[in-house]
C-alpha cells in the first residue's frame, strides 16, 4: 500500500514537472527600470523571437504565474509591491532578473531612491546581463531556467584513472 502511494506521488510529481516545464506562465514586473529591458522582453514574445514556442505565456496576474520576470533596480516605492507580487505567486516560483540594473543596480547604483538590486529583496534563480539584454539572451535565460526545473540525471562520478 505504501509502495503504491509512493509510486502515485512520483507519477504526480512527474506530471507536474512535465506541465510546468512545457508551459511556464510568466508575469512581468518593472520595479524602476528604464523601459529598455521591458521592450526587449516584449520583443522576445513577438514573432521574430517568439518565446511562446517554449510554451511561455505572459500573464497579467501573479496568482497565475510560475515565473516572475523582473527588470530594473528596486526603488523604495516599488519594493513593497515587488515583495507583495512575489508573495502572491503560488509555490514553486522562480525569478528571472533581466538586465544590469536588476543584477547590480547598474548605472543607477547610488541613486538616493534605490534600495538595491533584485536579489536584495527576493531570491533570484536566473540572471540575464546586458543593458538591455538582447531578446536572444532573454530566451536563453528562460530556457536555462526550464532546464533547471527538469529533473537532472544523476551525476556520473568517473573513477580517476590509474
Amino acid at each position: 500500500m505504501q509502495r503504491l502511494e509512493r509510486n502515485w506521488n512520483t507519477a504526480i510529481e512527474r506530471i507536474k514537472t512535465w506541465a510546468r516545464t512545457n508551459s511556464p506562465w510568466v508575469v512581468h514586473f518593472n520595479s524602476g527600470s528604464c523601459n529598455g529591458c521591458d521592450i526587449e522582453i516584449l520583443a522576445a514574445l513577438t514573432p521574430r523571437y517568439d518565446l511562446e514556442r517554449f510554451g511561455v505565456e505572459l500573464h497579467g496576474s501573479p496568482r497565475h504565474a510560475d515565473v516572475l520576470i523582473c527588470t530594473g533596480p528596486v526603488t523604495r516605492q516599488a519594493r513593497d509591491r515587488l515583495l507583495r507580487i512575489y508573495e502572491q505567486m503560488p509555490e514553486p516560483k522562480f525569478v528571472v532578473a533581466i538586465g544590469s540594473c536588476a543584477i547590480s543596480g547598474g548605472v543607477f547604483q547610488g541613486c538616493y531612491n534605490i534600495v538595491g538590486h533584485i536579489d536584495e529583496v527576493i531570491p533570484v534563480d536566473v540572471y540575464v546581463p546586458g543593458c538591455p539584454p538582447r531578446p536572444e539572451a532573454i530566451i536563453d535565460g528562460v530556457v536555462k531556467l526550464l532546464g533547471k526545473l527538469r529533473p537532472s540525471p544523476k551525476p556520473v562520478i568517473e573513477e580517476p584513472a590509474g
Binding site: N30, P73, T75, V107, Y112, I114
Partner: protein
C-alpha cells in the same frame, strides 16, 4: 433604487494593461468613469540629483537611461544643452547623423506604440505584425550603433558612429519595406470597422482643452494644436531637414493613430533626405572638461512630445543642477480628464493614446508655498525624505 453604488477600481502598479509600474484609481458609476487619480513615482530613482555627483561625460550614460525607448532623445537633449553651455559648435556631419538616429528612433517608437495600442484594443494581430516589422528598424539601428536599445550614438561634441555607403543602402532597403507596411497599417486603422469602434469618437480632446492642459507631441497635434519643436525651434539638423507638421482636427483616438502613422512617412522622407545629402567631414569637435559657470536649456521633440532640459554649470567638471521635463508628465493631466464620462473598457486605450512612458515621468517636485527661496536639498536630506515618505526602515 435611486441610489447607485460607486466603486473604486485600483489599477497598478502591476497590471496587465500597464507595462510599467504606476498606480491609478478610477471610480465608476456602473460602467462610466466618474473620477480618476494617479499616483506617480514607482520608477523614481533620483537621477537628477545623481547627475550632480558625476562628471559631464559620465552623465551622458546616466541620462540616456532615463528612458529606454527614447534614449537617443535624452542623450541628444543633454548634449545640445552642454554644447550650448560650453559654446562648442559641432560638425555638420555629426548633426546629420544625430538627426538620422533621432528619426530612426521615432520610427521604432511609433511602431512600438502602434503595437501596444492595438494590444490594448484587443487587436493582437496588429500588435504582432507591427512588432515584426519593427525588427527591421531595430536591425538597422543595431547595424548603425551596435545596440538595439540605448544606442549611445552621442558623445559630447559629436557622434560616435558613421554611416557608410553599404549601411545607407541597407537603411534605404529597410525603409522601402517599412513604407509599404505602413500604408497597410494606415489602411487598417482607418477602415477596420471593429477597430474604429474602439477609436472613433473616443477620448475626444478639443484644441482649447489641449492648450489648457499643456499637452505636447502627437497627442496635441491630433487635436489640431500645431506644436512641434523640430519646426518651432529647430535643433541638430532640423533647420536643413525640415519635417512637415502632421496634424488632425478630430482629437479622438483615431486621430492620434493617424497622426503617428503619418509621422512615420515623414520620418522615412527625412531619413532618405539625410542619407542623400549627408555632408562630409569630422564627427566630433573638441569639448572642454570643465565648463564655466553658466546656464542653458535645450528642447528636443521626442517621439512622445517635447523633452526639456535645464542645465547649470559652476565651473567644475560636474553640473550644478540638471532639470528634466518629459512629455508624459505634460500629457498625464489629459488622461485624467479625458477618461471622465467614458466607459471603463476604454481607459487602457485612452491611457495608451498619449503613449505614456512612466520611467521618464517620475520626478520629485517640492512645492515651496512660502514664495521664492534659495533652499537646496542635500543628498542626505533627499535620501531621508524618500525613506520617511515610503515609510520603510530599509
Amino acid at each position: 433604487m435611486t441610489e447607485t453604488e460607486k466603486f473604486s477600481i485600483p489599477i497598478g502598479p502591476q497590471h496587465p494593461a500597464l507595462k510599467e509600474p504606476e498606480h491609478f484609481v478610477f471610480s465608476v458609476d456602473g460602467e462610466m468613469v466618474t473620477s480618476a487619480s494617479v499616483r506617480l513615482g514607482y520608477a523614481h530613482r533620483g537621477i537628477e540629483k545623481s547627475t550632480e555627483n558625476r562628471n559631464w561625460a559620465q552623465n551622458l550614460y546616466l541620462l540616456e537611461r532615463i528612458c529606454g525607448i527614447c534614449s537617443h532623445t535624452h542623450a541628444l537633449t543633454y548634449c545640445l544643452g552642454v554644447e550650448k553651455l560650453a559654446g562648442v559648435e559641432i560638425p555638420p556631419r555629426a548633426n546629420a547623423i544625430r538627426t538620422l538616429v533621432a528619426e530612426m528612433e521615432r520610427v521604432h517608437s511609433h511602431l512600438l506604440w502602434l503595437g501596444v495600442a492595438a494590444h490594448e484594443a484587443g487587436f493582437d494581430t496588429l500588435f504582432m505584425y507591427s512588432w515584426r516589422d519593427r525588427e527591421t528598424i531595430m536591425d538597422l539601428l543595431e547595424q548603425l550603433t551596435g545596440n538595439r536599445v540605448n544606442y549611445s550614438a552621442n558623445v559630447l561634441g559629436g557622434v560616435k558612429f558613421d554611416v557608410d555607403e553599404e549601411l545607407a543602402g541597407a537603411i534605404l532597403d529597410g525603409l522601402d519595406y517599412l513604407e509599404k507596411r505602413t500604408y497597410h497599417y494606415l489602411d487598417v486603422v482607418t477602415t477596420d470597422a471593429a477597430f474604429l469602434q474602439r477609436t472613433r469618437g473616443v477620448g475626444v480632446m478639443s484644441a482649447e482643452r489641449a492648450e489648457r492642459l499643456g499637452v505636447v507631441g502627437p497627442t496635441a497635434r491630433a487635436s489640431s494644436v500645431a506644436r512641434d519643436v523640430r519646426i518651432d525651434a529647430p535643433y541638430a539638423g532640423y533647420d536643413e531637414y525640415v519635417p512637415n507638421l502632421i496634424g488632425h482636427t478630430t482629437g479622438d483616438l483615431e486621430a492620434r493613430f493617424e497622426v503617428r502613422i503619418k509621422e512615420l512617412f515623414e520620418s522615412y522622407r527625412l531619413i532618405r533626405e539625410i542619407l542623400a545629402t549627408i555632408p562630409e567631414g569630422e564627427l566630433t569637435s573638441r569639448m572642454p572638461r570643465r565648463i564655466k559657470a553658466n546656464e542653458a536649456f535645450s528642447r528636443v521633440e521626442a517621439p512622445r512630445g517635447e523633452v526639456f532640459y535645464y542645465l547649470r554649470s559652476n565651473g567644475s567638471d560636474k553640473p550644478d543642477r540638471i532639470k528634466v521635463r518629459t512629455p508624459t508628465l505634460c500629457n498625464m493631466a489629459s488622461v485624467l480628464t479625458l477618461v471622465i464620462g467614458q466607459q471603463l473598457a476604454d481607459i487602457p486605450m485612452i491611457l495608451v493614446g498619449v503613449d505614456p512612458c512612466f520611467s521618464c515621468n517620475d520626478r520629485m517636485v517640492a512645492i515651496n508655498r512660502g514664495g521664492r527661496s534659495e533652499e537646496v536639498w542635500t543628498w542626505e536630506r533627499l535620501r531621508q525624505y524618500g525613506i520617511d515618505y515610503y515609510g520603510g526602515s530599509h
